[in-house]
Structures are given as structure tokens and as C-alpha cells.
Amino acid sequence: MIKAFLLSTCISLVLSACSLEPVQPWDRDILAQQKMQLVADPLEIYLDEHTYFSKEASSGGQSVGGGGCGCN
């Protein structure tokens, strides 16, 4: 499972470096939409991360910072 994931990640990186046709600035209309951002609703993600941080042993992965609390 893990190996497969790493492999697929590597493949996607290699693919992106070599064979992807670059998307030009004038073709970025869709990617520029708020709903297409990696974090489309920052407050929702903040609340989710805070909730699961206090209920589970794992945290982070998506970004750094944000701060701790005594809930875990």
C-alpha cells in the first residue's frame, strides 16, 4: 500500500516534469477560481484540523504552522 503510494507519487512527479504540457497564464481561468484552490475554504480546514487534532494522534501534513493547544 505504502510502496504503491510512493511509487504513484514518484510517477506523478516524473510525469509532471517531462511530459505535461505547461498550462499558459491565459489558460488559468479555471485554476484561478476560489473553488479550485488547494484550500478553498481556509476556515473550514482550520476547524477540521483543530477538531481532529484533539481526537486523533496524527496531525499536519498539508501545511506548517497554525499553533498548538492543550487539547492533545
Binding site: 500500500m1 505504502i2 503510494f5 510512493l6 507519487t9 506523478s12 512527479l13 509532471s16 516534469a17 505535461l20 504540457e21 505547461p22 498550462v23 499558459q24 497564464p25 491565459w26 489558460d27 488559468r28 481561468d29 479555471i30 485554476l31 484561478a32 477560481q33 473553488k35 479550485m36 484552490q37 488547494l38 478553498a40 475554504d41 481556509p42 476556515l43 473550514e44 482550520y46 476547524l47 483543530h50 477538531t51 481532529y52 481526537k55 486523533e56 494522534a57 496524527s58 499536519g60 501534513g61 498539508q62 501545511s63 506548517v64 504552522g65 497554525g66 499553533g67 498548538g68 493547544c69 492543550g70 487539547c71 492533545n72
Partner: protein, 446 residues
């Protein structure tokens, strides 16, 4: 030059054209009207209500304010307040008789009925947090972000800084991110910092403490690659490494100590001891996220995280959000999340008499156990023509531990040893520009 022939005939270019025209008309010194003015503050707010069945309830409010202070240079400030009430598992296992525990202060006791998960009922907390961030271009293809955060609870203080660099390469189709954060947290637990594996004495006797407060340091490094795949698809892959040093134990959590005769009964004297965890934890994660827009303008947002640490915990998280857009600015977004975690090496639901002398660490905190969290939710949003948005979401979260009753001894085989949990979440959000607020206020006074 070869003329590119479109196979499917003419395609829709209206939106791409609008983007191009926007930048043609924008840079102007008099960029009012058509283009949103950069003078405004963007205000995002949300209120979350979270309630667990028979356990903790939480109300959390966030206000986030952002402003573009110069070309492509942003500042953001976020304040968060949350109020927590209710009870939380204290680590002890249920018993076929009522159990009496001493409150952390040592001044009072609480009693839990037979055959129920013992909860610490004095769980009441108010948290205030502030974070600020400054995001600025450093060159044509390099951005830098620095931030600071502080969070205060009556028994906990967290302060931290973070910084990251994002380098665009490959005609801005690839972004490399390097991030770093450092947090310094201080515990000031009620009744002092308990000494690990010492007994929870019966009130009014006081627990053995190692000072009134203690602290920990958390540092994290993240390396990420964000790649534009095509006009509709974006992917991000991150590796992060983190290390916590210092007091990583939960000062309020205890373990039940059983007789070592296999009966499953609590030992006769001092059946509860304070938990004890290592003073260092190193963890790593691999994170992948993909965002894709379909021709019908619906958006799929899928992520996977593999997390592991040197406490023996491994976890897998899959998170899926799918946004359906409807006419008139309405959208619906179902959310599914699946989280599966393996237990820490020192996770123990119970100890037997005398065992604590041979162990370095043990904790019965359910969050270090083996369990699955499942989330199902639905969000509804409405985007106003002027760019404001209002949204609501409702989610249900269930947490279920691995059934270990076969391993349990004696009378405990009949008890629910892992405190399964069920929680409901309601959230409302509102985003708008400061000039909308000003216009509205002015209209009120007209």
C-alpha cells in the same frame, strides 16, 4: 507556423477572455467598478457548534481579516475563541462497581456509575487564539510567508512562529514549497504536574507533583511540490517531519491497575495511576491532494495522508469533498473522511499490579489506541453576485475502537473498554468585503 486545427470546432473562450481583459483593464490607476478594488479588507467568519453524545460540547468562533497591502502582498489576522464544556474519558476502564476519582485539584471527588466509561466531568475551558501572517513576493517567482501565533487556555499557553518559501518553476506550472515552524508550549495543569506512574490519591490527599508547570517544544519542516496537471487539475505532494520534545504526557489522564490474578478486578488499594509518555516524539507524514474540475464545473477535492511516528503509531487518512454547482450561485458539497490509526507501542487499556515498575511508559488515552474515525457531512453554500458567500454544513463523526474484549481479562470481558464516540458538527460561515459592510452601515443611517 502550423495552424492548430481544433478537432471539435470552436470552443468556449469567454471566461479565458474575461480573465485576459480583466488584467488589461485592471492595472490602471483608476481601477474602480469592474474590478474589485484592492483597498478592501476581506472578512471571513465562521461559527462552529460541536457536540459529542454525553461528552464534550464546543462552540468555536473565528474571524479572519485579510488585506492586499501592496501588489500581491497580503496580510492576514485571525482570532479564534472557543468554549468547551462537558466531560472527557479520563483513561480508566469501566467497572462492574461504581468508581470514585479525585479531581485534578485534589480538593474534591467525582463518582462514576458501574459499567460506564469514566469521564472527567470538570472539563471546562475557554481558549483564545490569535495568529498573523504576512505573505509577500520576494522575486518574480519566489514568495515568502512568515507568521506568528499565540493561543491561551487557563492551563495552557502555546506560542509559535512559522515561515515558508514557495518557488515557481516550469513556467509557474510547478511550485516547490519549503516550510518551517517552531512552537513553544507551556502546561500549567490544575494541581500541578503529576509524576508519571504515581498513584491518584483519594481526596483530600494530594498527588505527587513535579513542579507547577512544564513545557514542550514542537518543530516541523515541510517540503512540498504543487503541480498544475492541466487546465482543470492541480496536485500537491508534501513530505513533513516533526519532532516534539519535553512534557508530552496528558497530566489529567490515568490508567486502571488490576489485580494480577486474572479476575479483571481493580487492585484493592490505589487502583489508579497517572500515565507516563516518552519525552520525545518524532513523526513524519506523506500527504497528497488533487483538485479537479469536471466539464459540468463540479469540483473534486481528494486527499490522502500517511502518517507515522517513533511511538509506533501509523495512520491513513482519506478525505473527499465533491462540490456540485447549481445555477444562481448555489452549491452543495458532500464530505467523506476515513481515518484509521494503529496503537502506540505503550498504549495499554489497563495495567496489572506491580507492572508499572517494569514499564518505562504507558498510557490509556484512547487517542493513542487503535481506532477508526468516519465522517460524513454536507455543506451548502451560496455565492452572492457581489462576491460575498454564506455557507452552512452539518457533519457526523463516529469514532470506533478495535474490539479487544477477547484479550480482556476476567470481568472486563463484559465491558466496553474503548470509549467509542459519536459527534455532530454544525457550522455557519460568512465571507464578505469591508466595503459591503460599510455600504450596509451607511444605508442604515440614511
Amino acid at each position: 507556423m502550423q495552424l492548430k486545427k481544433t478537432q471539435q470546432g470552436p470552443r468556449n473562450i469567454r471566461r479565458q477572455l474575461a480573465v485576459a481583459t480583466c488584467s488589461l483593464l485592471a492595472g490602471a490607476s483608476h481601477a474602480g467598478g469592474l474590478i474589485a478594488s484592492g483597498d478592501n479588507w476581506k472578512i471571513d467568519s465562521a461559527l462552529l457548534l460541536y457536540a459529542e453524545k454525553d461528552r464534550v460540547s464546543l462552540a468555536e468562533g473565528i474571524l479572519s481579516i485579510s488585506k492586499e497591502i501592496d501588489d500581491d502582498e497580503f496580510i492576514n489576522a485571525r482570532i479564534v475563541t472557543d468554549v468547551l464544556t462537558g466531560s472527557s474519558p479520563n483513561g480508566a476502564v469501566p467497572s462492574n462497581t461504581a468508581q470514585t476519582f479525585t479531581n485534578p485539584s485534589g480538593n474534591s471527588t467525582y463518582t462514576e456509575a458501574a459499567n460506564t466509561t469514566p469521564l472527567n466531568h470538570t472539563f471546562k475551558d475557554l481558549r483564545n487564539a490569535l495568529s498573523v501572517e504576512w505573505d509577500t513576493p520576494l522575486s518574480r517567482s519566489l514568495r515568502g510567508t512568515i507568521g506568528g501565533n499565540i493561543s491561551r487556555e487557563y492551563d495552557y499557553l502555546s506560542t509559535g512562529i512559522s515561515a515558508s518559501l514557495a518557488q515557481d518553476i516550469n513556467q509557474r506550472n510547478t511550485t516547490l514549497t519549503l516550510g518551517f515552524s517552531l512552537n513553544k508550549d507551556t502546561w500549567d495543569p490544575v494541581g500541578g504536574v503529576p509524576v508519571g506512574f504515581t498513584v491518584m490519591p483519594a481526596s483530600p490527599a494530594k498527588k505527587a507533583i513535579d513542579g507547577a508547570n512544564t513545557d514542550k517544544t514542537v518543530k516541523e519542516i515541510l517540503f512540498g511540490v504543487t503541480q498544475i496537471i492541466n487546465r482543470q487539475t492541480l496536485m500537491q505532494t508534501n513530505y513533513s517531519w516533526g519532532q516534539s520534545d519535553g512534557y508530552l504526557t496528558d497530566p489529567y489522564k490515568i490508567l486502571s491497575v488490576l489485580e494480577n490474578d486474572g479476575s479483571g478486578n481493580l487492585r484493592g488499594t490505589n487502583p489508579y495511576i497517572y500515565e507516563n509518555r516518552p519525552d520525545q516524539r518524532t513523526y513524519q507524514s506523506l500527504y497528497w491532494k488533487g483538485v479537479h474540475q469536471f466539464p459540468n464545473e463540479n469540483v473534486l477535492n481528494l486527499s490522502y495522508r500517511y502518517f507515522w511516528d517513533d511511538w509506533g503509531i501509523q495512520s491513513h487518512t482519506v478525505d473527499l469533498r465533491y462540490r456540485f454547482d447549481f445555477d444562481g450561485g448555489h452549491y452543495l458539497q458532500p464530505h467523506l473522511r476515513y481515518y484509521q490509526q494503529g496503537a502506540a507501542d505503550f498504549y495499554r487499556q489497563t495495567l496489572t499490579d506491580g507492572e508499572e515498575a517494569s514499564l518505562a511508559y504507558a498510557s490509556a488515552d484512547y487517542r493513542l489506541g487503535e481506532f477508526v474515525t468516519q465522517t460524513i457531512g454536507l455543506k451548502y453554500g451560496f455565492e452572492f453576485k457581489n462576491g460575498a458567500e454564506i455557507n452552512f454544513r452539518a457533519e457526523m463523526i463516529t469514532q470506533k475502537g478495535k474490539d479487544r474484549s477477547a484479550d480482556a481479562v476476567g470481568v472486563l470481558q463484559n465491558q466496553q473498554l474503548f470509549p467509542d464516540n459519536e459527534a455532530y458538527l454544525l457550522q455557519g460561515g460568512l465571507s464578505l468585503d469591508s466595503d459591503m459592510v460599510i455600504k450596509y452601515i451607511m444605508r442604515l443611517f440614511k
